[in-house]
């Protein structure tokens, strides 16, 4: 564990250099930017749907990476924000509030509020207790959603109208919707890049490295971690709003605990505490999942060992491998 801690913080100390990692990152981002062009030319609509999902879940992974990779807060309930953001959109749509100007801010605010409550309680603990409390809260929200009979309960709820933006954006156009998601993803990564190098971000990373020392030199670490937790929750709530628009459907399954696990896997696979790691992790994980499920009935049988190898041999994830895999 300590080796991975050190590896992770390479990003904290060293500047960005042009490496294989940078090249791959640029290639992935460029490829994602061109997906709609490719699908228009080939008429492969499925691919656009798949990559829209990849981009949306990548936003969730970027958000989780902020607290888990940079802040050392391993949240095992991050899918709850996808659910809260999604349900905010779905519930408002059913009640006749179709405007995205209402739905999306509510999705973000509701997720932030939930993060504030969960964080205020869970951040008083650490390690495995923190993991268990975030999981317990997410399970609670999951069962609350099942209990919402008016909004479909266990079966979920169909959303008949995507969020409207007064004629400026037509989210029913799949290309427009894809680029909206992609723009939010890039903005999210940029936001994280600014945050982690700011005063606030250094306090967060310092608290991961050695919280006791941070308190001793005069930081009230709890409140900084809590604000970080809320920022991450808000961003993932926005991803939830996008996900509901993408599938035109919400259900408790959005926030099943295995979905929280998937997000963790994406972040670890891509590289904890690296800016583009979560994006690469999301792309690789979801494409592998998709590809393997076509090859075999048991994709996890192959996915599992791959993840195991990454966990054992590549502490910095794919990002770390590409950077040269230095382990000192």
């Amino acid at each position: 564990m300590s080796a991975s801690l050190e590896q992770r913080s390479l990003g904290a100390a060293s500047g960005t250099r042009w490496t294989a990692g940078t090249a791959v990152t640029v290639a992935v981002v460029a490829a994602l930017a061109l997906v709609p062009l490719y699908t228009t030319l080939t008429g492969n609509a499925f691919l656009l749907t798949l990559f829209t999902r990849v981009v949306i879940l990548a936003i969730g992974a970027v958000s989780l990476n902020l607290i888990m990779g940079y802040g050392g807060m391993v949240s095992f309930g991050h899918a709850a924000y996808l659910g809260i953001g999604g349900y905010a959109v779905g519930i408002l749509a059913k009640e006749g509030f179709g405007s995205g100007y209402v739905q999306w801010p509510v999705a973000v605010a509701a997720s932030a509020l939930y993060a504030l409550v969960v964080g205020a309680l869970s951040l008083r603990t650490r390690g495995v207790y923190f993991i268990m409390i975030t999981l317990a809260f997410a399970q609670m929200i999951y069962y609350v959603a099942i209990g919402l009979d008016r909004y479909g309960g266990d079966d979920g709820l169909t959303i008949y109208q995507r969020s409207t933006f007064g004629g400026i954006l037509d989210l029913n156009n799949k290309t427009v919707f894809y680029y909206v998601c992609f723009a939010i993803l890039l903005a999210g990564i940029y936001l994280v890049a600014r945050i982690v190098n700011s005063r606030f971000g250094l306090v967060i990373q310092g608290s991961r490295a050695n919280e006791r020392r941070m308190r001793a030199i005069g930081f009230p670490t709890f409140r900084y971690k809590l604000v970080c937790f809320v920022i991450a929750g808000a961003l993932c709530g926005l991803a939830g709003a996008l996900l509901a628009n993408h599938t035109n459907f919400i259900s408790p399954a959005m926030m099943h605990w295995t979905r929280s696990g998937d997000l963790i896997v994406m972040v670890v696979l891509g590289g904890l505490g690296t800016l583009f790691g979560p994006l690469i992790g999301a792309v690789v994980f979801l494409l592998l999942e998709e590809g393997l499920s076509r090859l075999t009935e048991y994709p996890d049988l192959i996915l599992g060992p791959i993840l195991l190898c990454v966990a054992i041999y590549a502490h910095g994830g794919i990002e770390g491998l590409l950077r040269g895999g230095r382990r000192d």
Partner: protein, 257 residues
């Protein structure tokens, strides 16, 4: 008699049957170097934990510069000017030496709810940090990550981080721990330069260092103060010789435990 900077009244901490702090009463005057010695398990590190706020006492009060700080959390005490170093090196892994010290500066230069600007480009954080590194002789190692520094450099960085918070009272927990004779001597010279500027409470096993630096000396045994006063007088104290210094020649060599 000037008002003491630190006044500790009957401070008590029990862990089950162990009493690492048994009604400790002591004062530290502004500007003095006050050494605390005692055998292993005497409660020296517990005392630093109590004073810095990491360990809550069961009884007793702590006044710092006339303010009752007994109930204040660690970071508030740091804001008031109380800094500590750690016996077991406690640094921010993954960061450079300069980053470590700059964070200590940052903690005392306004709040850190600033999310946008690159903190590593704030000269008002970097300059004082570099000055603190220079003070301990680490300026040329500023850009080196903590993992690549030697043990002796870790110990120096410990002090630099504490200094960067501009403390009025510095609690040093065995700053020479694990150091060779040369490094120890260097550390003593560095602390001698600080003497007068900053009030220091020095917990140390290295008797040579203690007698080179201390204005006053307190001997702690099983959580109790058995002697306190002028270092030479305390050394000659019969009770101290028996309880702690024993047959060992107190004037020579470094002992670590």
């Amino acid at each position: 008699m000037t008002e003491p900077l630190l006044r500790v009244d009957r401070l008590t901490k029990r862990f089950g049957g162990v009493v690492p702090a048994d009604a400790i009463t002591l004062t530290i005057a502004p500007g003095e170097v006050h050494a605390v010695i005692g055998p292993n398990g005497a409660g020296k590190t517990t005392l630093i934990g109590l004073l810095s706020g990491e360990i809550p006492p069961q009884q007793g009060r702590i006044h710092f510069d006339g303010v009752d700080i007994t109930q204040l959390p660690v970071y508030r005490r740091s804001r008031l000017g109380l800094a500590r170093s750690f016996q077991i090196t406690s640094l921010l892994a993954g960061f450079t030496a300069l980053d470590n010290v700059a964070l200590a500066v940052q903690a005392h230069r306004g709040h850190s709810f600033r999310f946008w600007r690159d903190a590593r480009r704030e000269q008002r954080l970097r300059d004082p940090a570099l000055a603190a590194l220079d003070r301990v002789g680490l300026a040329d190692r500023a850009g080196v990550r903590v993992e690549r520094l030697s043990h002796g450099e870790h110990r120096q960085l410990e002090i630099a981080m504490a200094l960067a918070t501009q403390p009025r009272l510095l609690l040093l927990d065995e700053p020479m721990a694990g150091m060779g004779p040369d490094e120890s001597a260097q550390m003593v010279r560095m602390l001698q330069k600080l003497k007068g500027d900053i009030t220091i409470m020095l917990v140390e096993h290295d008797m040579e260092a203690v007698f080179a630096l201390a204005d006053r000396l307190t001997v702690l045994v099983y959580g109790r103060i058995i002697a306190s006063g002028d270092p030479v007088a305390v050394r000659e104290d019969a009770g101290v010789r028996q309880a702690y210094l024993g047959e060992k020649d107190s004037g020579q060599g470094a002992r670590h435990g």
